[in-house]
């Protein structure tokens, strides 16, 4: 059983009618719903307005894979909590960063780069798989379309990904490394570009498959607790 926590800043859904129409219970609820249908996944949600901003020790300790959606309130996340999330990833927790989460504190701490990109509201996107044997691509077609999605374009200032799984094509003329994996410490990280709050991206069956696959991929079998620098004796030679 994989323990997943879907974290959401949960702001746009409560402050924009457009968004509320698409995700009346919040993006986290929409994601939790389809993940909860998988028999191997046990899902819960938490949000910025919860105690400890939804990132308490109890929650992080019991999370195998954390999904992060945020857009408007990156700056409100406490630095100490962002560092706790980073440290949990280094200890082995999986992290799936969605869409505008590219600028969230934990992702930037783990990447070390600015994570900036180009963007434009409301374009048509076609997502291509350039790594069809990767577990995150399992069961996905060679390409699929999102009628409305926010364009994210290169240059995306990230470290070289371990694997690029998806490339995004936008009608407006751009391309993007839309699905990228990174290992940091014992933790696996997947960044996935689609998911603007005004569009029903998370109700798309292919998007749901990608995120479900990513959860299963990101679950680590091993964890690390101690981050000291040991000083051992010389070995038998």
């Amino acid at each position: 059983m994989i323990n997943v926590t879907v974290w959401n800043e949960f702001y746009n859904e409560k402050n924009s009618e457009n968004v509320a129409l698409v995700y009346p219970d919040g993006i986290h609820s929409a994601i939790a719903q389809f993940l909860g249908e998988d028999k191997d996944i046990k899902v819960r949600t938490s949000t910025l307005e919860d105690e400890e901003q939804g990132l308490s020790d109890e929650i992080l300790k019991n999370t195998d894979v954390l999904i992060w959606w945020a857009h408007s309130l990156h700056g409100y996340v406490r630095d100490d909590l962002a560092e706790k999330v980073r440290d949990r990833v280094l200890s082995g927790m999986g992290l799936i960063v969605l869409h505008s989460g590219h600028l969230c504190k934990p992702f930037k701490l783990l990447m070390g780069t600015s994570c900036t990109l180009n963007w434009r509201d409301n374009d048509r996107e076609r997502i291509w798989c350039c790594n069809p044997s990767h577990p995150i691509a399992f069961g996905l077609p060679a390409h699929f379309e999102l009628e409305s999605e926010e364009m994210y374009g290169e240059f995306f200032d990230i470290p070289k990904p371990d694997d690029i799984i998806f490339l995004g094509w936008f009608k407006g003329g751009e391309v993007f490394r839309s699905g990228c994996t990174f290992n940091r410490g014992y933790g696996k990280i997947f960044y996935f570009q689609p998911g603007h709050e005004e569009f029903p991206t998370y109700k798309n069956i292919n998007i749901q498959k990608v995120i479900t696959n990513a959860v299963k991929w990101a679950k680590s079998d091993v964890t690390r607790q101690d981050f000291e620098c040991p000083n051992p004796e010389a070995l038998e030679v």
Copy 2:
């Protein structure tokens, strides 16, 4: 001074009026022309109909960077010569494989994969740089357009590139890893997707910059002659 040999099968230019109109002296001549304007590059050309198919020991020995264009006659290249090219790359010769060269024998020998892809005649392409600090991208804009180019689309069956420099966007709806680097042995390899024989791609100033940059990048400072497996004594411990 970098010794460059531009190799071309030189078939379409002599057997298709369309192509002859664009490249009356062959694609190799068009490439040699702009490379020859660079004071650090000494360029010559060779073609399939030359002695030893244009890949004699004398030529290979005196080539720092080999540029390869081919389309229709991959099967006519002798296996022993393809293997010589591969071995020269492992010894330190740079190799730049252009467009339909993705199926040429030396490239397939070096990659180990099928190098297959999707394709379609005559689309509009926009090339994006996703690695702007790489030497091959030096002086290039964030993106540039080719009014007419052959679409090459994913899945492109290559090993994971060391670096992806360019991504191609096609009006017809596809994307492609259009500029990729690989190290093999002591040699550097750059694959670059644009360059269909019916279009004046190699007269485009940005394409010329990319290829010129790639030549300078692919020149190796060190070479290897011996491919034995040495059997040394134990070292002082």
Copy 3:
């Protein structure tokens, strides 16, 4: 269930008393024995002297993961069979290349490089894990020792591995990238350095764990049958 075929040239065991004492039934049998104890693995063996050199279509078609041990008879393996093995890997079959298999035809075809290295008989080796969260390292200690092993040392002429899992330390003063992974097409490849025929390496519990882990890692969930270059219509834009 993972269908594993352990292929062995099976020569040294029949032509050297030293080797026969260690592996009286052949290295393939020793490997098949411990793999067969895993409930998820169904194992068979084949050797160079079998029909079709032990690499018949029937065998390859029904093999999820092929393990390859060879040393003295690389040149006797038929080129067409080596190419079939390569093609099966590109189609999704896993390949585990052991020790002196570094010079076998299928591995060289897949790598594209010379795969040469330094070597010396009979040294003491300590294997370190530099990627402890990788599935192939699961359950392994930070390091373990082999009292007697053949030294393999750098420079090892392979393409940059996707992941380096193990580094070898040799008492005689050398180091080696002893456990490396590569993806080629849909197939996963693991090269593992220990396993000289005169030493009981494959009876070491840690070595057995590594190979068992590698089998489970190398099994692909997806396969590819067609290696054409499709020519699709333009998509809806």
Copy 4:
């Protein structure tokens, strides 16, 4: 001309007689001395006790490649200055982190991991090159020895390096990825393990060659000033 700044916390040299005997003018001076002999390099030094901890805007702005040596006072480096160094790297400044600098703030910010490792005082090290055609290995032998060096051993908690150039062998039984490169933003980073303050490592001709090579490799031809997320219009399609 490459503008190099050698930064040193300059503490051990003033507080330990052993160290003062080896580096009476500080490690920074020893490094600056051999770098200054290269006609392409213009070198200056700065230390923790300088104004703005030796990391003023003026210094950082005029530094193409920053070399960092530190050991005891990582915690004293101001967070805002560590972030400035990180940002300058993302803008294109090269960074060479030496030995115990693996725990310095700028390196940890850029890596995103704990950068922890195993260590032991005073061992004999042999450094092997596993990437002989990389510019940082230019002119270096296949291996070279350091009679006395601090052992640094795996597991080294860093992101997967872009390239591993050197592997360290230690008489006491350990191995280490001793020379690793990383690209972050427009900046190139080289971590190099040797350089304990009690030993004359920086007087070793091979060590000097490595650092000189690394300076030339780390100099970027392009820089980036703006880290916004642009919001462009759709392109002509």
